[in-house]
Amino acid sequence: MLQIKKLTKKFGGVKAVDNCSTSIKENMITAIIGPNGSGKTTLFNLISGTLKENNGRIVFNGEDITHYSPDKVSNAGIARIFQQSSLFWNLTVRENLLIAINQDDTKFWKNLLGLTKYSKDQYKEVKSALSLIGMFEHQNKIVKNLSYGQQRLVEIARSLVNPHKLLMLDEPVAGVNPLIRKNISNLLLDLKKKGETIVLIEHDMDFVLNIVDHVIVMDEGKIIAEGSPNKIKNNSKVLEAYLGD
């Protein structure tokens, strides 16, 4: 579904992503793991177009998206959440999701003439996404008033209703309490059953090894290992990257 070819990104002298090649397969949950600063988020940023690569190509379903702007990448079918909370603070939970779902809302004249209302189907989809994460009763709350864990859930729900073929989650459960963590892992497994393709970055090994099908390990900008969770658990390079220094 997604191919990354010899991708490199330098910040000054630091190669944050260093000649990485890999691919993401359909209808799987793939995890990208690695120590702090190993280049995971940078790789996400390159894919979603918020950073420009120095070298390499990114191909999504046969479409070369290497030089796309973030909104074009999104419209090509890639949805994501950020490592830091990035909700629309002053809007309600429901409004946050409605913005993600609606594709006509940037058309000025249609809006001025009152032709772009949110549709019944859109309300319904938002409702079911919120029910899925147990946040339906909070739909009219302003998101800045929610707890951190609830905000993470809303962000996940927002990326879910944003039309997409691939979902990229940057540390969805970091700093979230164990109960919500459990909910999120169940949710991801359900989504996979429904045919979603998901890539996630995560530090929590238990979380990762329990739900994912494929693991990509990064260290110092390089992909040092790749394979099934069981294979990765016993890979000596991986153990060294995590336990060394």
């Binding site: 002053n90 809007l91 940037t106």
Partner: protein
Amino acid sequence: MIESYLIHLLIMIGIYLILAVALQLAIGYTGLMNLGHIAFFAIGAYVSTIFTLSGIPFLLAFIFAGIIAMIFGYALAYPVNRLKGDYLALATMAFTFVIWSLLINLKGITKGPLGIANIPSPSIFGFQLISPFHFLILVIIIAVLTYYILHKIVRSPFGKVLEAVRDQELTTKILGKNTLKMKSYAFAISAFFAGLSGSLYAHYITYISPSAFTILELLPILAIVIIGGLGSLRGTALATVILILLPESLRFIGVSASFIGPARQFVFALLLILILIYRPKGLMGRVDID
């Protein structure tokens, strides 16, 4: 006497209301710290004046005042696209200086610092609006329409995307929206109404010169937007009425006429400081902007 004074105040409230709700759209709803608003007001005033003086009917000149200001607003969004907060404020303020110096220097068109006098009172379909009362009716119609249209915009899905741009521009892009387009629309809409307001101002005062469009003239409008509260059109309307009427009370406590001008500036600045200290969200504000 008292009647014409009241009519004058109401006309000023209308003109400022249009300016302030338009600026609220840019600052409060879209998060664009636009200090170039007075330049759009100036463009509207000059376009309308120059057009009517060259024989173009008022209504057409009025609409062009809005459209030409709008084009400037739309275009301004591009060079300042990557700027945020203070930098955006500085760049848009620079825009005010650019327009102001054009008004001074393009003497062939603008008559330079002397300004343009004897601006005709509006004539609509052959009906001359000579009396201030007739002019007031025109101002009320335009102000109400402006408020209504902006209300429609901010309540629509389009308005929600503007707020999304204000809260998290990068995330708005990640959700597939072209945020540059959204910001240029916000600038354009805001400038359009500022231009209309400028036209009304010119034909009401009947004399314009660059000195009426300096950055100082932005102070009352900015004060209205912040005191009314970011992200609230109703608050903006309320603050307009308060800020136009409050300095007038100075007259009744015996402040001399020559002192009213500076005293007004003083009242605006004082109110602004008090609000920022004691009620940072303004009268009816809903949003926190960091």
